[in-house]
Symmetry: C2
Subunit: 83 residues, 2 copies
């Protein structure tokens, strides 16, 4: 079965996010003053061939822990959908 | 009212994604051969102060078009939630 994992990897809330700060300032300069804060992370989609949903979720967790996310500075969340 | 916009900015499907290719290869090297493909983009969250949901969505669209996404190479999708 084919599954698609949608992963969000974001800097931890406790940490400064200079890229997000830069985005906020740039949006203010563009006149979008209603934006009060921004945080910037990564979005990764994986195409996974797995026996079932649980196996696909396990592969996704492993990919995040081993490669995609630096757990000292980042937190990941994901959803796995069929197809 | 406070709203949070969750924005995904991904390389267009028609375009090569060298970073995604590198992730796929690295995952294979780590033994995760069930991963058949990966695409890497950005995830941005914005904290927005707006009168209503429609105004928050409009500010988000403007932020994406003016700053966050390069529409020649990237497509953006977002959801806006209260709080």
């Amino acid at each position: 079965m084919k599954y698609t994992a949608h992963i969000n990897i974001m800097p931890l809330k406790e940490l400064l996010d200079p890229q997000g700060k830069a985005v906020t300032n740039s949006l203010h300069n563009l006149g979008l003053t209603q934006v009060q804060g921004a945080r910037v992370g990564k979005h990764v989609t994986l195409a996974i061939e797995a026996a079932d949903q649980a196996a696909a979720e396990q592969a996704t967790t492993e990919a995040c822990k081993k490669l995609l996310a630096n757990q000292v500075m980042e937190a990941f969340t994901f959803t796995v959908t069929e197809g």
